[in-house]
Each structure stands twice: as C-alpha cells, then as structure tokens.
Amino acid sequence: MTGPLDAFWAVFAREVRGASRSRTYLLLALALTLVVFGLAQAGNGPSAGYIPTVVDVLLVVEVLVPAVAFAVGYRAIADDAVRGTLDVLATYPLPPWAYVIGVYAGRAVALLTVVLVPLTILGVAVAAMAGPATTVFATHRGVDSPLLFVRFLALTAAFALTALAIAVAISALADSRRRAILLALVGLLVVVVGADVTVFRAMTGGVDVGLDTLLGLSPASAYRGLVFETVLYVAFAGRSGFIAVPVAAAGLVVWAGVSLLVATLAVRMRRA
C-alpha cells in the first residue's frame, strides 16, 4: 500500500529524471552564464568584489530569473492535461496536492540548478579575481564579503521558487499548450512589472500604507528590496529601510503558497 508521500516521491522522481535529460535546461543555464558573466565583466564587478558584481547583475537577474522560471514551469501541468495524463492519474491514489507539489519540487530542482550554478560560478570568479579585502566575512557596514554573495544567492533562489510557483499555477489553469504560452507571457509581465505598477498606482491612489510595506507585496520589488536591505546595505552607510523585510519575505512566501494552492484546486476541479 502506498501513501500520498510515496506518490509525491514518484511524481518528484519523474520530474527530476525528465529534467535531467532535457537539453533545453542545459541551454538555459549556458545562456544565463553568458549573460551574467558578460554583464559582470562589462561592469568590472568581479575584480572589484562581491557587492559591485551583485550591482552589475541585479537588474538583469531580476528579469531573467522569472523568465527562466516560467520557461521551466509553464507547461509543467498543461502538458499532462493535454496528454490526458491528469485523467489517468485521477484513477490512482494520488491526491492533487501530492501531484502538484511533486511537479513543483521536481521542476524546482531543475530551476535552481539552471539559476544557481551560473551565479555560483560567478561568485567563484569574484573570489579568484577580487582583492583580499573581499575574503573576510563582513559583520559591519562597508565591508565586502562572500557571505553577502551567498545571501544574494539565497534570495535569488527564493525569488526563482516564487516565480516557478506562479508559473505552475498558470500551467494548471491552461487547457492547451497555446493558452499556456499566452498565460505564461501575461504572468511573466505581472511578476516583472505588473505588480510594481499596481503598487505605485496604489500609492498614488492614496492608500495609507508605507512604501516600504507596499513594495513587499510585489514579488520583483520584494526581491529587489531584500537584496538592497540584506546584501547591498554595506554600500550605503547610514541608510536602510528600503523595504519592510518581514513583509517582503512574507510576500514571497504568500505568492508561492497561494499559487500552489491555486494549482492544486485547478487540478482537483479538472477531475469532475
């Protein structure tokens, strides 16, 4: 007798095995490597240290990471729906949540590999090229440190996982591959700029909430704000409060959680 956890692992293993055979993911990783190294070299960041490197690549990472997440996730569930696999799986002891989380976790492994390997190599390049002052572990402002780059990696991973959850939800709502592409493009726009625009409209509309809190509600600005607040702050002596850190962190978690809930409900509704 198998339980929901065993079913989750079966789905997870299928996703990881499928991803490990995909050349598309390898190409995505290579493209991301070329872009971040090209930008960092153009900005001369690696020879200057971790913080200058993060500054060089932040804007592009903020756009490329959700783009890669959507590329990895936009057909995750739509393909199974189009093939009729969801109907078949509905006859197995596989709860919708175990299926959705299994698909998400499997794709997350692929996404994090595609995103973090190039950035980690970039960090190693900084360690090799930058001056000795960057090797210390910073405990106060003004000091560059590999620890700050590790924080940048962790925040980027969190942002990527949030974007992937949104992509998986969109994939669950799509009833064809064409619609999955269309919805993914709309979703990507919402993640990259749409939510920011909504926040600014809310501000100009007289919403009585601080900007630091409002920014935490948009995935992209939450990520950007967290990077400023916990990584780049060393470069801004005496300045902080770019964003409300708890709100931004909770914002990313809520976007991911609600997206996976939507995906689960969408899969459940397809069953009857």
């Binding site: 509905a90 197995y92 009857a272």
Partner: protein
C-alpha cells in the same frame, strides 16, 4: 462468464454540456467477470458515459456507485488516445504508474506482451504498442473495474484481436471490463453484454446473442436497425474488416 456480484451501478445518469444533452437517463450495471461493451455512432455519448463511469466526469444528474471489493485503485482507465511523456522508456513509464500503487512494472509489461521492448522510448512505439502500454497502465494496482475507451481503435486486425484477447482474460480473472468500441465483430466475440447508445440514450442493452436474434443476422445488422440511419455511417462492420 457471469457472476452475481455487480461492481459498478449507473442510475439515471444525465449529462449536459451547455445546451447539448450528451446523455439522458442512462442506467446500467457492470457485473464482475463480465465484459460490457458500449457501442454507438460517433457522438452517441459512449466516451462521456465511460468517463462518468470512471469517475472522471460528474453526471449532471443521477449517480454512479462502486460496489466492488476494497482496492488501492478501484478503477483503471485507458483513454481513447493514450499518450506518454516523451524521453522515457517503456519500462520507466510503466514503473512510474506501478510505483503509485506498489505494483511490479515488469509483470505489467509481461501481461500485455511488452516485456520484449522495455528499453524502447515511448515515442518510438507503434500505435498498437502504445495502446498496449496504456492497457498495462490501466492494469496497474489490479483494479477490479477497467474502463477502456476504444482500446482497438486504429489497430490492425491482429493487434485488435490481441487487445480483445487481453480484455477477455481480464474478465476471466474476475475483473469488470467496460469497453467502448466500433469494432462490432470483436465486440460480438468478447462482450457478455452490449449497450447500444444513440444520441445519448440507451436504445438496447442485452447479450450479443439476444441482440443478434432481433434481426437474425450479425450484430452490425441489429446495430444498423437500432440507430438512426444517418448516425450509423461511422460504424465498422464485418464487411470492412
């Protein structure tokens, strides 16, 4: 083969899609150890009824109840056009489904005769082999009831007979098998009970022998007399075999 146990009951099932009525007051029982064949012209509601029986589609009215034995997976389902994720071998594909119900993938492949091609990629399988892999998937977990949607569609006569041989073996093992098909000679040979659907309604339900007696000819003659003339063109008859 007959048995007194009935695994699946459909009572007054009604299904609409918007303004279109796909099924109207359909009732049928699916006994253990029997093959129940749903036949009818294209668009007569066979697949809709099969999906409702399989629990994949909710009826607008009426109900379907499962009264079979307790099972990890009460019902196995073969879609009309089974498609599998490309890039995986035959064994890897069936192993995924087998793992969900703690079954043996090699035994499942052996049951449908695909044990000779375990390493072949699913996209390299012929149409018949893909259908057999779909049947192996439907058998995973040994479900008491099997719902097979046109399992022999598009297959050559030899492969069609092989598929129906498997269907007969499943019924002989005590499974309830509900199958939709346009292949009336094979239905006539394998089914214990035939349900004829036309425009969403059951126009006849009986044994193949009893249906044949209505016209005195083969099943397709009775079928033609039962369904409206303009609906019967899609049905495969003995003459087209």
């Amino acid at each position: 083969m007959t048995d007194t146990d009935t695994y699946l009951h459909a009572t007054d099932v009604h299904r609409t899609f918007g303004d279109v009525t796909a099924l109207s007051d359909v009732s049928l029982d699916v006994p253990a150890g029997n093959v129940v064949a749903l036949i009818g012209p294209n668009g007569s509601g066979k697949t809709t009824l099969l999906r409702i029986l399989a629990g994949l589609l909710a009826p607008s009215d009426g109900e379907v109840t499962y009264d079979g034995p307790d099972a990890t997976r009460p019902l196995g389902y073969l879609p009309q056009a089974p498609t599998f994720r490309p890039g995986f071998s035959t064994r890897e594909t069936i192993a995924f489904y087998a793992r969900l119900v703690d079954d043996d993938p090699d035994e499942l492949l052996d049951r449908v005769g695909l044990d000779r091609v375990p390493d072949r990629r699913v996209e390299a399988l012929s149409g018949g082999m893909t259908r057999l892999l779909g049947i192996a998937q439907a058998l995973a977990g040994d479900p008491p009831v099997l719902a097979l949607d046109e399992p022999a569609s598009g297959l050559d006569p030899g492969m069609s007979r092989l598929v129906f041989d498997i269907v007969e073996e499943l019924a002989a093992d005590g499974h309830s098998v509900v199958v939709t098909s346009h292949d009336l000679p094979l239905v006539e040979r394998s089914a214990d009970r035939v349900v004829v659907l036309d425009r969403g309604e059951v126009v006849a339900a009986d044994t193949p022998e009893a249906l044949r007696e209505r016209t005195g000819g083969p099943l397709h003659e009775t079928f033609t007399s039962l369904v409206q003339a303009d609906d019967s063109v899609a049905i495969r008859t003995e003459a087209t075999q």
